[in-house]
């Protein structure tokens, strides 16, 4: 290389090999940072939670008392709240999101698809705190005065829909999270549905199936595994949602059968109490809640990525 005439400024002498190696290491460092960050995040949370882990042991996960005054801390109400609000969100968002994805891939005329996709992508860009603001002043009052009253009236025989209606509640939290995970469920489902070979559809139409039968037999059954993956990915997002949930869920560490009762999630208790945690044990317990949240989301995300990878293959497993 060094023997070439170096009239061009791009051509350098023997130093280029050193520079090449240096640049390669620099790029490598950038990639390693990513893996390093995961270790850092887990390690720091563990370090922050040391006292609580030593004091409460695994019992932390199943104790339901959260009392900073007597220094008694248990994570159960928050784990319960996180899981219940996320499950409510999935029950609402998965059918809606899959239906919207079906609309986009099977029904909508071509000129309509891109605008609808853009709207859904914009929905994904709305910050959590703005959904929270809208939730406090628009959604929760509406739920309190209309939907919840109707639910209590017509389904009140179920323990889920009994008890006083405050507005802020587990159900309100679930609904706001549902809105926030709709875009990701829709866009991943759409990727999945697009990967269904057209031959499948044509074969079903050729047999005389109606549109719904084509969707059910040829498309949905083929894509069911991927859609399950999309739902799990949505769950991963739902677990970590913080601001909007904090603003509408009521923030009371109680385990109640009624969805009208206020709840509390792992992320919201951290957001609310972290800055005012007075004792070391209190702060450590909050860090342990963070560790539980991190473990849950990583577990769920890894499962989702693995499922989507087998369906979509390679790089498409990545989303937004």
């Amino acid at each position: 290389m060094s023997t070439l005439p170096s009239s061009d400024h791009l051509l350098t002498g023997s130093t280029s090999r050193g520079a090449d190696a240096a640049f390669k290491w620099l790029a490598f460092a950038g990639a390693v940072v990513v893996v390093g960050l995961i270790v850092l995040v887990g390690g720091e949370l563990y370090a922050g939670a040391r006292l609580a882990i030593a004091k409460f042991g695994p019992g932390f996960l199943v104790h339901s008392k959260w009392d900073p005054v007597t220094d008694e801390f248990g994570a159960l109400p928050f784990i319960f709240g996180t899981l219940v609000s996320s499950v409510i969100a999935l029950l609402i968002a998965v059918p809606l999101g899959v239906a919207a994805a079906l609309f986009l891939t099977e029904l909508a005329p071509f000129w309509m698809r891109q605008p609808v996709v853009t709207v859904i992508e914009m929905l994904a860009a709305v910050p959590s705190v703005i959904f929270g603001l809208w939730g406090i002043f628009v959604l929760v009052p509406w739920l309190r005065d209309h939907l919840f009253v109707w639910l209590k009236h017509s389904l009140g025989f179920l323990p889920l829909f009994q008890g006083p209606i405050y507005g802020v509640s587990m159900l309100a939290g679930g609904i706001i999270v549902a809105i926030m995970i709709l875009p990701i469920i829709t866009s991943v489902s759409r990727e999945i549905l697009r990967s269904v070979p057209n031959l499948q559809r044509e074969a079903a139409y050729g047999l005389g199936a109606t549109r719904w039968e084509v969707i059910r037999i040829a498309v949905l059954s083929y894509a069911s595994r991927g859609i399950f993956g999309a739902a799990i990915l949505g769950l991963g997002r739902a677990l970590g949602e913080t601001m909007a949930v904090t603003m509408v869920i009521g923030n009371r560490p109680e385990i109640s059968a009624s969805l009208f009762a206020p709840g509390y999630t792992l992320a919201s208790v951290i957001a609310n109490e972290f800055a005012e945690a007075t004792s070391d044990l209190y702060l450590n317990s909050l860090f342990e809640l963070g560790l539980v949240l991190l473990a849950l989301t990583i577990l769920v995300n890894v499962i989702a990525q693995a499922m989507l990878k087998t369906v979509l293959g390679g790089a498409s497993g990545k989303v937004q």
Partner: protein, 294 residues
Amino acid sequence: MNRVGSMAPSPFLPSAGRQRWRRYKSAAVTGLLCACALAVMAPLFLVIYYLVAEGASSLDWNFFTQVPKPTGEVGGGMANAIAGTLTLLAMAACIGVPLGILGGIYLAEYGSQRANEWVRFGADVLNGVPSIVWGMVIYLLLVVPFKTFSAYAGGAALGLMMVPLVMRTTEEVLILVPQSYREAALALGIARWKVIVKIVLKTALKGIVTGVLIALARVAGETAPLLFTALGNNFWNHNLKEPIAALPLQIFAYAISPYDDWHRQAWAGALVLLALILAINLSVRFLSRGRKSG
């Protein structure tokens, strides 16, 4: 297309009544899917409608030039929060963009199949880490040792969140650069790192900028990682070693306050924040149209 009735009668075909029922069912499902698609889009329009209806009237000169008034006094603005958000974004970009681009270069240009799988996996896991967890980690790393909440801590939290986003988009656009460019340049005897920096990166520059802007728009609205890092305040602060205000923090604080005047300002702040984020997103989409269509 979906009608069987025109075919010759066959003993295998179901009765006419059954076929009518199938067609009705199909039409009903078609309608239901359209309704669901509308329902998915509705929240965006509802949120924008309420932001404009409740917030637009409060967007005046004061809002963009004044700092918040003390509790109980009417008036004031969010000038410091707007400036704070821009400051935090600039600091986040200083951390997230170089790291992300370097990682992307490694994935696209150097990494072996096996190494890449691990790094991509790591990026996906990082992408799934809840934003509140980033706040806690940075609190331990930058707030506790220096004994003060600071703009640096807030910028670091947002910057680290940007890394996986920038990295994956950089990788994607670098892969799109034709292999023949690299081969031609290498054949001319140009050092590999110069090929990458001056030819590959330059060719893909537009895509990389797009990715960076989308990542910035994504972290611009983050509140949770700032709660115990940047903390927020109610006055002008030009010292990055001290707490700094940010729009999302201010919106949150005002939204959960009991004062009507603050609620009014929370709506206005949310309108400004959403306008900023949607403007970045839409302009980026407009610029990169045709490169990768939905």
